[in-house]
Amino acid sequence: MKKHRAYLLFFLCVYSVAQNKQILYGFNEIPQSLLLNPGAEVSNMGYIGVPLLSHVHINGGTSGPTVYDLFSANGVNFNEKFRSVVYNSDSRDFLSANEQLEVFSGGFAIGNTFEKTEYLSFGVYQELDVISYIPTDYIELALEGNQNNINRVFNAGDLSARAEVVSVFHLGYNKKVNSRFNYGIRGKLYSSVVDIDATKNKGSFTTRRGTNNIYEHIFNLDMQVRTSGIASLTSDDNSGFNEDLKEISKRAFFGGNLGLGFDVGFTYNITDQWRLDGSVLDVGFISHSKDVENYVVNGNYVFEGINPLFPDVANGQSAQDYWDALKEDFEDLFDVDTTGTKYTTWRPIKFNGSLNYTFGKKKKKDCDCTTEDSGYLNAVGAQLYAISRPKQPQMALTVYYYRKLFEGLSLKGTYTLDSYSFYNLGLGVAAQLSGFGFYVMADNFLQYENIYNAEGLSLQLGFNYIFNKK
């Protein structure tokens, strides 16, 4: 792990990556590629996604330890493995999971009858996004205690995690300006079902040599967990699972905490064979005002021990008064305040960009010449992906080869460098038969050999009915 990291830092200077859909990006036969770049070139006249099956996406990853590192049945004592995993991780290592399910989607070309240069697309999808950094300082304090860590500053900010479930309603507009330039924009309405945000923790705990006593313990805590949509589900008034389910479905359809956002993107054909494109997705926020419950721990305190024999007699304080005051100080320090202060969260912004080169036209059987009107059969390119995350952005670099095998069947193979691994090979296929389209794609093939040792896996698939250009 350490070794990987050193190399990766060399290449990217940051860690990488969640929610990367490097295979789907630019795979324009698939209507859902418009969700990754609203300004992509659209190759169909319209489409209807098969409800609940038009886009299923799951992705999970870890930049640090794998399940196999910890749980392999290899005879090594679990405590040894646990310690080795902890000491080989740092507080920027994370676990993340993302899931998206399109409820429905569709699109159609608009414009004059002869040349439709505009395209509208719309849909609803549900998304779950979870990221948790590994709180290494907390774990190491629990493993070792402070005795061998005098002067060490244990960072309270190591506890950083976020989880959200949202429904997204979107409407996109795509315009072909001329044969070279395409742009698009998509407006999004977010309805938050549940949100947990513990990314704003600050502070520290330090033990050092004291002046009045052997040690002084310095507590400096500024911690908060903000939640929306959780309190009503866990409260006693809410009696059953059915009610919870009713509540959740209400929130999924505009009943939750609402937010707004947008995606923008473009495609620019530099020459007939070179293409540059890019997009920025989920520039948006959710305002959490309903069903908000926040937990706050805030305080500074220096503890040097107690002086029971010589309390502040001048102020008439007895030893017990002194002790009680001290206990109160500690209780205040760790007292969890519950508040209902509304808050705003930003969606993780994503950036995609790629440079592509297409080549190799189809040869006609009868004349050893190429067909003029058909496009190129091959493409190679490099894609860059970045996503904003609580501690620092994550990035991934992909190179790919695309091949149209024949009308109705295309393949795309990818090789991606990110923090999960250096061996990330992906493969996607899009097939179409009489307008009925199917696609499936997955990455990290080399790690399928032992899934428990995988640092990241993602899978996307979907079914659409596509109306092709005549």
């Binding site: 399940v67 196999y68 910890l70 749980f71 392999s72 049945a73 004592n77 679990f78 405590n79 493995k81 646990f82 304090l141 629990a142 493993l143 070792e144 205690g145 402070n146 005795q147 061998n148 005098i150 033990t207 004291g210 009045n212 006593n213 052997i214 040690y215 002084e216 313990h217 503890f303 040097e304 021990g305 107690i306 002086n307 029971p308 024999l309 010589f310 309390p311 007895s318 030893a319 017990q320 002790w323 095998l405 024949f406 069947l409 493969l427 296929v429 097939a431 499936v440 997955a442 093939f445 399928y448 050999e449 032992n450 899934i451 428990y452 040792n453 899978l459």
Partner: protein, 187 residues
């Protein structure tokens, strides 16, 4: 057109790639073996007093006693997970008196369950005397600690016979505790 021989195996091949994945043997029950063994150090009592603190209305005080009600040691977490404790005392005495600190541990019935005391000898010709004392709680003494809800501190000044001059100098005591835990994930 692409020959049928290529076309046919294409999809099945991909599906096989996607869904044919292996796992090597893992054992999630191992998590039950997890054991944390932190050693927490904490400051305890301290004082730093000059001779004048031991004089009241012109006469010398030779005993000071205070007690604290403490519910820390009987806490379930401590009772279940604490396997050893040490109290470390560092003294520095420049008083022309011996100083004795006696620490008594009493349970909820006010019964004495443990006692130790720290002697700090009087300064020799004005130069301070350093003391180090460690009280270890293991076995029976640990059980005694875990039943303690009251600690009584008794500080005595012991003068040589015949009683020397007026009390002079100062006395200092610092202390810390080391709590050794063994916290098992599964009981």
């Amino acid at each position: 057109m692409i020959p049928r021989s290529i076309k046919k195996p294409c999809l099945p091949l991909i599906l096989v790639l996607l869904f044919f994945s292996c796992v090597k043997e893992v054992d999630f029950d191992q998590a039950n073996d997890l054991e944390l063994t932190p050693v927490m150090s904490s400051s305890l009592v301290f004082f730093d007093e000059s001779a004048s603190s031991f004089v009241e209305s012109g006469s010398e005080i030779d005993i000071i006693q205070e007690f604290l009600i403490i519910d820390l040691f009987t806490d379930t977490f401590i009772v279940e997970n604490l396997v050893k404790a040490e109290f470390v005392f560092l003294g520095k005495n420049a008083l022309n008196r011996d100083v004795n600190l006696q620490v008594d541990f009493l349970d909820d019935l006010d019964v004495l369950v443990h006692r130790f005391s720290i002697e700090q000898e009087a300064a020799v010709e004005g130069s301070e005397v350093f003391t180090e004392y460690i009280e270890t709680f293991e076995g029976d003494t640990l059980l005694a600690l875990k039943s303690t809800i009251k600690i009584v501190f008794t500080l005595r000044l012991i003068a040589e016979d015949p009683i020397p001059d007026d009390i002079t100098g100062r006395v200092e005591l610092q202390s810390s505790s080391n709590f050794y835990f063994k916290i098992a994930a599964a009981e």
